[in-house]
């Protein structure tokens, strides 16, 4: 996607991915869009890239040959992992294979205690031996994680020096630099994931950079991180573990931007494509972040990922619940006679039955077609012709007949079940995190999101649903509306009643200095810098902290009292109880430093208050709505001809190139000045 900062114009190009040379696809798309929009490479201000290269290299096992160095006695940390089975009753389960083979894992004599005191000095001679052995083994990358290094990084720092002396310019990932938080396996796993993908990601990004520079593109090259901020190529190549969820993060960022520009601080993003649906949460204008994440984990229908099936990382990741329910998800009847949807997908080949490419399995897309929600002659703007009779036959054979119901009922059933899985995902991201979905706006996008968003909102009593223009490319827009972001943290581990507020202020000042320096290197002027402070707190004895945001300004005694009372409230909200008499502990201080980059402005469409939507009316057709008891006549609109101010009464269908918006009976869609359709419950039903 290219945004013209002068005109606000947006240009879009899609190219097929090129698995043999993934960077080729991105370069190709960049050059093509420049050509199409008549912009020279030199005119570009910046380029942002979202990529799954980091995740894919782990899922496909294409990682660098990596060594692991830890404290003597613990070299099996990666093999032992969490010692659990990812599925309870499966006698044929597997543990994920370690990313480093055991013969490349080494323990070196040294030891700290939990307070960071040195109990045993580092055996430097042994470190040199290990370094030479790793050299002989031709590893490309090394991860270092010693016990208790999150309190005292001295031994890790020394090992880093020795490895550099012995092995020169080798890729090193040091746990105390990357993720200085306690619980050794999780820190080690984060470090090892970083080490194992670093050469792969570095080659990939360097490949892109080289080719773009050869085209005389001088703009800053940026990559989206899992936390929704962007990093320079250079920083991303060093810390690729921060960008494992680079792609999906963009969708939530786009949702937060859209919501903010429409005056909603709290929103739920709902991004449904061909194979999965992803739900994320925006609170107070910022995407919710988690640090409890596994790369490559197996998806579990309805409840996210199975614990222990992937590689945990402790870097900030935008909190997403992803489920196997996309347009291509297959519907089937199980051995107990119950209709199920997913997690198998018909993919692009053969695709849904209605594509007419030989697919026999009914999918969500087939069900939507049979129900009249999709236009067989205007799918992807008419690019793909859909065959209603094939969709009907597939649903009849695989679902309706085995269940003894008619095709329409079965098709509606497929949609309702898919919706229920999405409702669960939505509740997981909201209710289970302590938020009431009714306080949020729903942003529906992706090719299939607008088809289902209205129903999802109705199920959860969400008052407002927003369907942006061109929902199929909303995700890409997320890449261009983000900030440069650098996260820092310091572990404090002190009781709130025993800490000097001035010390906390000192810590934050120090973190801020790092952030300021990094942003300055990125070329951000002081006026474009912003710093957000958070304190992680818990009751003394607990292990899971709750993040409490701090207001800006210097930290003093009143701020501390406010933070503690905010913590009690957050605990009450999250778990239904608080213990105000119990001592509270401050675990980590966190600083997010943001550098503003130029954002595109949303383009406005012609505005005509009280406008009639009639000019955009394409016609009517029969569409199935369970709440109406069957097929009813619905108006069909051309989205591109809608003007701001128009109000569409449900049941209605709005068609555009890359998606279809379904407005249910009893709901209405108002077109705002940016062309967004804002769905609300109609005043009279």
């Amino acid at each position: 996607m290219l945004v013209n900062e002068e005109t606000g114009g947006i240009e879009i190009v899609k190219v097929p991915s090129t698995p043999s040379d993934p960077s080729g696809g991105f370069v190709e798309a960049t050059l093509r869009i420049l050509k199409r929009s008549d912009v020279t490479p030199g005119q570009l201000a910046f380029v942002v890239h979202g990529t799954t290269v980091a995740t894919n290299s782990i899922i496909e096992g294409k990682v660098a040959r990596t060594g692991f160095v830890t404290t003597d006695g613990f070299r099996d940390m990666l093999e032992i992992a969490r010692q659990i089975r990812p599925s309870l009753y499966d006698l044929q389960f597997d543990k994920p294979p370690p990313l480093v083979p055991r013969y490349l894992c080494f323990g070196v004599p040294e030891r700290l205690d939990a307070r960071g005191k040195v109990l045993k000095e580092l055996d430097e001679e042994r470190v040199r031996e290990v370094a030479r052995e790793l050299g002989r083994q031709k590893v490309e990358s090394i991860a270092v994680c010693l016990l208790h290094s999150y309190v005292n990084p001295a031994h890790e720092a020394r090992i880093k020096q020795i490895l550099q002396e012995e092995l020169g310019d080798i890729s090193l990932s040091i746990s105390s630099e990357l993720a200085p938080e306690f619980r050794e396996y999780f820190r080690a796993s984060t470090t090892v994931v970083n080490a194992a993908i670093r050469p792969v990601v570095a080659r990939y990004l360097q490949g892109i950079e080289k080719r773009l520079r050869a085209e005389e593109l001088t703009a800053e090259l940026l990559v989206m991180q899992s936390n929704g901020g962007v990093l320079t190529f250079e920083a991303a190549a060093e810390r690729p573990v921060f960008m494992v969820e680079s792609g999906p993060a963009a969708g939530v960022i786009a949702a937060s931007y859209l919501a903010a520009s429409l005056g909603h601080k709290d929103a739920i993003s709902f991004d449904m494509g061909g194979t999965t649906a992803k739900v994320g949460l925006v609170q107070d204008g910022r995407a919710r972040i988690t640090r409890d994440y596994e790369v490559g984990a197996a998806a579990r229908a309805g409840t996210g990922s199975a614990r222990g099936s992937g590689y945990p990382i402790r870097t900030p990741v935008i909190d997403l619940v992803e489920i196997g329910a996309g347009g291509g998800s297959i519907a089937w009847v199980d051995s107990g006679g119950v209709l199920r949807v997913g997690p198998h997908s018909a993919g692009a080949d053969p695709g849904p039955a209605c594509y007419g490419q030989g697919g026999k399995e009914p999918t969500i897309t087939d069900a939507n077609l049979v129900l009249g929600r999709l236009n067989p002659d205007y799918f992807l703007g008419g690019e793909v012709k859909l065959h209603v009779e094939l969709a009907r036959a597939a649903i009849e054979n695989r679902c309706a007949r085995p269940l003894g119901i008619d095709v329409l009922q079965a098709a509606n059933g497929i949609i309702e079940i898919a919706n229920s899985a999405m409702v669960n995902a939505l509740r997981l991201i909201s209710v289970q995190r302590g938020y009431d979905p009714r306080d949020f706006a729903l942003i529906g996008f992706g090719g299939a999101g607008p088809v289902h968003a209205n129903r999802l909102a109705a199920e959860n009593d969400i008052p407002t649903t927003i369907i942006p223009m061109s929902p199929g490319i909303t995700c890409a827009m997320g890449l261009l509306v983000t900030d440069l972001q650098h996260d820092y943290s310091a572990t404090l581990l002190r009781r709130a009643d025993a800490v000097e507020p001035a010390r906390i202020e000192e810590h934050f000042k120090r973190l801020e200095a790092s952030g300021r320096a990094a942003l300055k290197r990125d070329g951000v002027p002081a006026s474009g810098m912003k710093f957000l402070r958070l304190i992680d707190m818990r009751y003394v004895g607990q292990s899971y902290e709750l993040p409490v945001p701090l207001a800006s300004g210097a930290f003093g005694a009143t701020r501390l009292d406010k933070a503690v009372s905010d913590f009690h409230a957050a605990h009450e909200r999250a778990y239904g109880h608080a213990a105000p008499a119990e001592p509270v502990e401050i675990v980590n201080l966190r600083l997010t430093s943001l550098g503003a980059i130029q954002r595109p402005t949303l383009r406005e469409i012609p505005n005509q208050p009280g406008a009639s939507p009639a000019t955009a009316l394409k016609g009517t057709r029969q569409v199935y709505f369970a709440e109406s008891g069957g097929m009813v006549k619905a108006s069909v609109y051309d989205r591109y001809r809608l003007v701001a101010g128009a109000v569409l009464k449900g049941p209605a269908i709005v068609e555009e190139m890359d998606s279809t918006t379904v407005i249910h009976p009893g709901y209405q869609g108002s077109v705002d000045r940016f062309g967004n359709i804002v769905l609300t419950r109609g005043r009279s039903r």
Partner: protein, 604 residues
């Protein structure tokens, strides 16, 4: 299903998913607000929802040992207290082994769930329950595990009593319970976390029922049970009919040195699956007695493991679990038998069930697994603070080899799925140092598919004396092999492994002096199929990884490896394997040839 009147097949799936989410939300609330490492990090807890008739309906991803024993506990506890004596906002607590419970550490907090409609009075729709293994419940040794002889030595026994009354914690009861317990501060926090879990469950159920309506909700619950019943019946019908048996033993009973004999007889016929444990030893005046609820959970696990992976588990499944465990035996103890080590019996019986079933479904079951809880508990009165600190954990071990693949190294097996306690968290919270946490090389039971490696964890107490309890097993023999596979290395419990290396019993309490180290070494899993048939490339990988020694590769697996190039020496391997075949193949004992042949078929 569509033919069954009021049930909409679509809403059905919606309600079923939502009920599972109820229990997952409970689990999240419990984990995140708990204080002890055992609960918050090791996940030694479970949550479930029961209907008003106390039938199990939904459960969280948790510990199968708990989930199975819940089935016995909740109906008995509710009946004992009387549902008519419970009101909205009440929560009950219990851990009584002879009231349907398991060992005293497993404390359950449960609550009736009333649905208050707009005009109707509150109507009982079911119960939510949160069970957690508490690090200490008093009794004769810290962490409340030890070689006790009757239940009264094991800690505070709590019959069902109201811990929360109309939303307020009953201070008298709470203080009375905490007075019996060493680790008061931590345990109080864990109790509050259990209460939080139930609050979350009730809140979420209320929302669900508001959407569906009470009558509809109850109709769906019936259908959820019927659905599982239909699928379970269909799955059971596919199992090969017959009578399958296996025998085994525990090292000792924890008080005397006598082995505890266990015998399992499983009958699969048209009416279902019947577990007959009549051949097990009489109850002991020692801690290895399992309660009926505990033994039941082993049967439930064994049966569930043979079913389709995505079968939802609820009353419709449990009703097929039929068990004969004569009272007064180690598998169904009577008052006042000690039960704290009953899980050792339970998990071994579980392993024996799979051994028996290997005759029926050889491709479905593993060779012998760790099959001991591997419990370690210790208490220290910290010199610095004077606080009595207790810790408890259960270690992983080798899993048995399977028909098509190796057994994983260092993993929990069967009904147990608790996590590894991070060393940094342990050392930050307790005055102990973990000096080693590693796989034990060469501990695998050799086989075509080898068993997983056992685990070694060494505990060192630098500054304080400590009371340490081992409640475990397998120090006489390692997990068995199947179809020509060899047994895994047995367990070792050593005091000061680098100096005196004094072997300790698998069940004992030892007083450690400051400066002592205790080394807990769990067994490797049994092998599956003949070691001489193992793919030489896999042997090479294991040797290179240091998991299998060069010597054992040659002597046991009959594979010669060229270490200079890290390659299999094909010719030498062929010679080794030919000479072994000429000598009659193998060094191990009897095997069921027919079953082995079936296993072969199954693995292709």
């Amino acid at each position: 299903m569509s033919r069954r009147s009021s049930i909409d097949p679509v809403r059905f799936e919606v309600v079923r998913n939502a009920l599972t989410e109820v229990t997952e939300e409970m689990a999240a609330a419990l984990r995140k607000s708990a204080y002890s490492t055992n609960i918050k990090t090791r996940m030694d807890f479970s949550c479930a929802f029961f209907d008003a008739a106390t039938r199990p309906i939904a459960q969280s991803f948790a510990q199968p040992v708990h989930l199975g024993s819940f089935v016995e506990l909740i109906p008995r506890a509710v009946k004992a207290y009387g549902p008519e004596n419970m009101a909205p906002g009440d929560m009950l607590v219990t851990n009584d082994p002879y009231g349907g419970g398991s060992h005293l550490n497993d404390v359950t907090v449960f609550a009736p769930v009333f649905y208050q409609g707009e005009k109707q009075p509150g109507r009982l729709i079911g119960y939510v329950a949160a069970l957690a293994h508490h690090v200490d419940v008093g009794g004769g040794a810290p962490a409340s595990i030890g070689p006790f002889q009757e239940v009264y030595q094991e800690g505070v026994i709590i019959p069902p009593v109201k811990l929360v009354e109309q939303g307020e914690i009953s201070d008298d009861i709470f203080r009375l319970i905490l007075a019996q317990i060493r680790s008061k501060r931590i345990t109080a926090g864990d109790f509050r976390a259990q209460i939080a879990a139930n609050i979350a469950g009730i809140r979420r159920l209320h929302e669900l029922v508001t959407r569906t309506g009470v009558d509809q909700f109850l109709a769906y619950v019936e259908e959820i049970i019927a659905y599982t019943r239909r699928r379970t019946a269909a799955e059971i019908a596919k199992l090969p009919r017959g009578v399958y048996e296996a025998e085994g033993f525990l090292d000792n009973d924890g008080f005397t040195d006598q082995v505890v004999n266990l015998k399992v007889r499983i009958t699969i016929d048209g009416s279902g699956v019947f577990f007959d444990l009549a051949g097990c030893d009489p109850q002991r005046r020692a801690p290895v007695n399992s309660t009926y609820a505990m033994t039941y959970s082993a049967c439930a696990y064994a049966l569930r493991a043979l079913m389709d992976k995505d079968l939802p588990i609820n009353s419709g499944f449990y009703q097929f679990v039929r068990l004969n465990a004569p009272s007064g035996t180690v598998v169904n103890a009577v008052h006042p038998g000690a039960v704290v080590g009953g899980w050792e019996t339970q998990i071994r019986v579980n392993d024996l069930m799979f051994k028996a079933l290997s005759q029926a479904v050889p491709e479905a079951v593993p060779a012998g697994c760790k099959a001991m809880m591997a419990q370690a508990g210790y208490g220290v009165i910290e010199r610095k603070s004077g606080e009595y600190l207790c810790n408890y954990e259960a270690l992983a071990g080798g899993y048995g080899g399977r028909a098509t693949k190796d057994g994983p190294d260092a993993v929990q097996g069967h009904g147990q799925n608790t996590e590894n306690a991070p060393v940094e968290e342990t050392e930050g919270a307790y005055p102990v140092m973990i000096t080693r946490l590693e796989l034990i090389d060469d501990s695998d039971g050799a086989g075509r598919h080898r068993g997983g490696l056992g685990l070694r964890r060494d505990y060192y107490f630098p500054h304080d004396d400590a009371t340490f309890t081992i409640l475990s097993d397998r120090d006489r023999a390692g997990p068995w092999g199947l179809f020509g596979g060899l047994p895994g290395r047995k367990a070792y419990y050593l005091l000061n492994p680098e100096s005196e290396a004094r072997p300790l019993s698998s069940k004992c309490v030892v007083q450690l002096k400051a400066g002592d180290t205790l080394s807990f070494q769990t067994p490797g899993g049994g092998g599956y199929g003949f070691p001489g048939q193992r793919d030489p490339e896999l042997v090479l990988r294991d040797v290179r990884d240091g998991k299998v020694s060069l010597q054992r590769a040659r002597d046991v697996y009959r594979v010669a490896i060229d270490r200079s190039a890290w390659k299999v020496d094909g010719r030498a391997t062929a010679r080794l394997r030919a000479s072994a075949a000429a000598r009659g193949g193998t060094t191990h004992q009897s095997r069921d040839k027919q079953a082995a042949a079936r296993a072969e078929r199954g693995s292709r």
